[in-house]
C-alpha cells in the first residue's frame, strides 16, 4: 500500500431504499418509489483526521453512518478502505475492517446490552476478534475513559450506570480494539450539559491517544468545533458545503449552511441575533430528481436572466412549482374549504392564498395567474409548462461541488459564475 493512500475514501456513495409495495402496487406493476437517503456523497478521511457531518434530522447522516459500518448495502459508488473498495471486500477484508472501524451511537441508554456487565460488553469485541490479554486491555480502557477505579465498574450492569458513565463505556468499547477509525453518531446529544463537555473532550483526547481518525455525525454545529477541524454540511442526502469548521461558522457560503449557522442561539442577552427567514422543513427524500435540493426553500434561488422579480416572490414561485411538479398540491382539501366548491375563480384564489404571500407585477403576475387558472381547471401539466417557460432556474440543474476557495467546497450555482476558480466546464446536467 502506498503511503499516500487515504485511510478511508468515500466515493460518490449512494444509498437508496425502495418504499415497500403492497399487493395493489404489484398488480398494477407500479414502480416502487425511491428514498434517496444518501446520494452522491464523497469525502476523504486521512489518518489522524476528524471530519464532521452536520445536518438536520432526516438529511441522511445516520444512513451514511450505517452504510459506512457495513450495515447497509451500498446502492452506488463505493467506500475505499486503505485502497481496497468495500465492493471487493472478501471475508478477511471484512474482518479487518470490522476490527478497525468502530462505532459509537447517540443513545447511551440502549448502547449497552442491559443483560451484560461492563466487563462483558468491553470484552465482546476482543472475543470476536480473538485478541489476547483481555483483562489487561479492559482494565486499561476503563482507565482511559476515566471510569476509575476500574474494579468498581467491571461488574456493573448498565442500569447501575448514569448516562455519562454509559456513554464512557460505549466509547471504551469502541476503543478497546485500538481501531483506525471511529464513527460517532451524536455521542453527547442525550447527555446533560454538565457532562457533555467532559465526554466530548475525553473523546477528542482519546482519538489522539489511540492514533485513530473520526467521522463525527451531529445535528449540532455549535459543539462540532470542539471535535472536528473539517465539516461537511449535508442536506437531503447530499453534501452541500465542506470546509474547515471555523470558516463555516464564521462565514458560511452555501445558503443552507448560512441558515444553519444563523439559527444557532447565542448565549448572550446583549447580542441581538435576527431570527431565521427560512420557512418550511426539508421534504421527504423520495424521488428527488434533478436539481439543487434546497431550491424550494433557498432565499437565494437564482431567477433566470432577464426577468425582474423580487427574490422572496421568486422563492414562492419555486416552492409552488416544486409542489405542482411533484403532484403535492393539496387541491382536494383546498376545494373542500370553499364556500362554493364549484367556483373556479375562488379556487384559484385559495390556491394563491396558500402559496403566495406577496404581490407580483407585470408579466410575472400574469403567468402565475394563468397557471393558477390552469390548476383550478385541473390541467396541472399546462400550469407546470407555463411556469417552467418563464421561471426555470439554473438551480433546477444539479450543482456540482466547486472549490470556492482553497479547501472550501460548495455545491451551489452561485459559485459557478462568481468565482474564477470554478471548473470551466461545469457539466451541468439538464433534464
Amino acid at each position: 500500500m502506498a503511503d499516500d493512500t487515504p485511510l478511508l475514501e468515500i466515493d460518490d456513495l449512494e444509498k437508496h431504499f425502495e418504499q415497500s409495495t403492497n399487493i395493489l402496487d404489484l398488480l398494477l406493476r407500479r414502480e416502487p418509489s425511491k428514498i434517496q437517503a444518501v446520494d452522491g456523497v464523497s469525502f476523504t478521511l486521512e489518518t489522524n483526521d476528524s471530519i464532521a457531518v452536520i445536518g438536520e434530522s432526516g438529511c441522511g447522516k445516520t444512513t451514511l453512518l450505517l452504510t459506512l459500518i457495513g450495515l447497509h448495502d451500498i446502492t452506488g459508488g463505493d467506500v475505499v478502505y486503505k485502497g481496497t473498495p468495500m465492493s471487493d471486500f472478501d471475508d478477511a477484508d471484512w474482518k479487518e475492517y470490522r476490527s478497525n472501524v468502530q462505532v459509537i451511537f447517540q443513545d447511551p441508554f440502549n448502547s449497552l446490552d442491559p443483560k451484560m456487565t461492563v466487563e462483558e460488553s468491553l470484552k465482546e469485541p476482543l472475543k470476536i476478534h480473538d485478541v489476547g490479554n483481555r483483562d489487561e486491555r479492559v482494565y486499561q480502557v476503563l482507565e482511559d475513559v476515566e471510569l476509575r477505579p476500574p474494579e468498581q465498574y467491571l461488574h456493573r450492569k448498565p442500569m447501575n450506570l448514569s448516562g455519562g458513565e454509559k456513554q464512557r463505556v460505549a466509547i471504551g468499547r469502541a476503543l478497546v480494539l485500538e481501531p483506525d477509525i471511529i464513527l460517532a453518531d451524536e455521542p453527547v446529544s442525550m447527555l446533560d450539559v454538565s457532562t457533555q463537555a467532559s465526554v466530548l473532550r475525553m473523546l477528542k483526547d482519546l482519538i489522539d491517544d489511540y492514533d485513530a481518525s473520526m467521522i463525527y455525525i451531529s445535528h449540532d454545529l455549535s459543539t462540532v468545533s470542539y471535535i472536528s477541524e473539517t465539516v461537511n454540511v449535508m442536506y437531503l442526502g447530499r453534501i452541500v458545503e465542506s470546509a474547515p469548521t471555523e470558516w463555516i461558522l464564521d462565514d458560511p457560503k452555501h445558503p443552507y449552511s448560512e441558515a444553519l449557522v444563523s439559527a444557532i442561539p447565542i448565549p448572550d442577552p446583549h447580542h441581538d441575533r435576527a431570527r431565521t427567514e427560512m420557512s418550511g422543513a426539508p421534504r421527504d427524500p423520495i424521488d428527488l430528481g434533478e436539481g439543487c435540493r434546497f431550491r424550494d426553500r433557498c432565499p437565494k434561488v437564482i431567477p433566470p436572466d432577464g426577468i425582474d422579480v423580487d427574490q422572496e416572490a421568486y422563492r414562492e414561485v419555486m416552492a409552488f412549482r416544486e409542489a405542482l411538479e411533484r403532484d403535492d398540491l393539496p387541491l382536494e382539501r383546498i376545494r373542500k374549504e370553499l364556500d362554493d366548491p364549484g367556483d373556479q375563480e375562488a379556487f384559484a384564489a385559495a390556491i394563491r392564498g396558500e402559496y403566495f404571500s406577496g404581490e407580483m407585477t407585470g408579466e410575472n403576475a400574469t403567468t402565475v395567474d394563468a397557471a393558477l387558472d390552469d390548476v383550478a381547471d385541473g390541467d396541472l401539466d399546462a400550469a407546470a409548462d407555463r411556469l417552467r417557460d418563464r421561471f426555470e432556474s439554473v438551480c433546477e440543474n444539479t450543482p456540482l461541488s466547486v472549490e470556492a476557495e482553497a479547501d472550501w467546497h460548495v455545491a451551489c450555482h452561485q459559485y459557478y459564475d462568481h468565482d474564477r476558480r470554478t471548473k470551466e466546464d461545469h457539466a451541468i446536467t439538464t433534464d
Binding site: G70, L71, R98, V103, D113, K115, M116, E120, E124, I128
Partner: protein, 316 residues
C-alpha cells in the same frame, strides 16, 4: 431497582461456566429478585408444591387407584361423601378420590412440563428466526403463524389426535404443535425491537456473527419473555389436555385429573358426588392460575417495558 450481586453458586468449574452464562445468570438473578415479591413467591411455591406432588404423589396414595373400597359393613362405598378414611370421598365405582388425585398429579405435571417445553422451544425458535432473519423467511413464518392462529384449537386438536393416534403423549404433542403461536408472535416482536437497539448494531459492526448475536444478545434479552411463555404454556397445556381428555380423545387410561372429571360427568352423579370432580377441577385451576401469575410476575420484574406484550400473550 437496587443492584444485586452476581449469584454465588458452588465453586466447581463446570458449574461456574454454566452459571456464568448470560441466560442462566439472568434467569437465576431474575428468580431471586422475584422471590422477594411475596405474591409471586407464593405462586412459585404453589407450583413447586404441585411439581413435588407429581414426583411423590403416587407414593403417597393410601389406596390403589382401582381398588374398590368397602364400608365396615362390607358394602361397596359407591360415591361416599368425605370421611376420615376417605377424606375426599369415593367415586361411583368405589375408588378413593384422594388416591386418584395424588396419582393423577404426575400425568398433569408431565403434561405441563412437556407441553410448556414444546411451546417454548417452537415459539422461541420461530419467533427469533422470523424476527432476526427478516425478509421472506419472516413473511412465510409469520403468515404460517397467522394461519395457525385461525385454527380452532380443540376441533383441530381432535383431528390431529385421530391422525397421530389417541394417547397421552400424542395429546401433549398436539398441544405443543398448536399453542406456540402466541409465543412466536410476541418473541418476534421483541426480537425486532432488540435488533434495532444500538448495542446489536454495534456488535454487528464489530463483526459479531449472527450466531453470536442471537446467543449473546437476543436470547438473554428475550429470556424473560420466554420464561413467561414457558409458564403460560405449562398452564395452557394442562388445561387443554384436560379438555381433550374430557372429550374422550386423550387416553382415558392415564388417570389424570381431567379423566376424573370426565368420569364424574359421565357417571351422571356429578351433582350428588360433587367431591369427585371438585378437587381435580380446583387443582387444575389453581395450577393454571399459578403458572400464569408466576409468569406475569417474572416478566413484570425483569423487563421494564413488559406491559405492552402481555396483551398478545393472553390471546394465544
Amino acid at each position: 431497582m437496587p443492584a444485586r450481586d452476581a449469584v454465588s453458586l458452588p465453586n466447581t468449574e463446570a458449574f461456574e461456566n454454566i452459571a456464568d452464562h448470560h441466560i442462566v445468570r439472568n434467569f437465576v438473578g431474575g428468580l431471586r429478585m422475584m422471590l422477594n415479591d411475596r405474591t409471586t413467591a407464593a405462586y412459585f411455591w404453589i407450583l413447586v408444591g404441585i411439581t413435588f406432588l407429581g414426583v411423590v404423589g403416587p407414593m403417597l396414595a393410601p389406596y390403589g387407584i382401582e381398588q374398590t373400597q368397602y364400608s365396615e359393613t362390607g358394602q361397596i362405598l359407591s360415591a361416599a361423601p368425605p370421611s376420615i378414611n376417605h377424606p375426599l370421598g369415593t367415586t361411583f365405582a368405589g375408588y378413593d378420590v384422594l388416591s386418584r388425585l395424588l396419582v393423577g398429579a404426575r400425568p398433569t405435571v408431565i403434561t405441563g412440563l412437556l407441553g410448556g417445553g414444546l411451546i417454548l422451544t417452537i415459539g422461541t425458535s420461530i419467533g427469533i428466526t422470523a424476527g432476526y432473519v427478516g425478509g421472506r423467511t419472516e413473511t412465510i413464518l409469520m403468515r404460517f403463524t397467522d394461519f395457525v392462529y385461525g385454527v380452532p384449537l380443540i376441533p383441530f386438536g381432535i383431528v390431529m389426535i385421530t391422525f397421530l393416534g389417541v394417547g397421552f403423549l400424542s395429546s401433549i404433542l398436539v398441544i405443543g404443535l398448536i399453542l406456540w403461536r402466541g409465543g412466536a408472535r410476541v418473541i418476534r416482536a421483541q426480537t425486532l425491537q432488540i435488533k434495532q437497539y444500538p448495542f446489536v448494531k454495534v456488535a454487528k459492526a464489530t463483526g459479531a456473527s449472527r450466531r453470536r448475536i442471537i446467543i449473546k444478545h437476543i436470547l438473554p434479552n428475550v429470556a424473560p419473555m420466554a420464561i413467561f411463555f414457558l409458564a403460560l404454556g405449562v398452564g395452557y397445556a394442562i388445561m387443554l389436555q384436560a379438555s381433550l381428555t374430557f372429550l374422550g380423545v386423550a387416553s382415558p387410561f392415564t388417570p389424570s385429573w381431567g379423566v376424573m372429571i370426565r368420569n364424574a360427568f359421565n357417571s351422571g352423579y356429578m351433582s350428588q358426588a360433587w367431591w369427585w370432580s371438585l378437587t381435580p377441577g380446583l387443582l387444575i385451576g389453581i395450577t393454571v392460575l399459578s403458572t400464569f401469575m408466576f409468569g406475569r410476575g417474572y416478566e413484570d420484574l425483569i423487563t421494564a417495558d413488559s406491559e405492552s406484550v402481555e396483551a398478545d400473550t393472553v390471546a394465544a
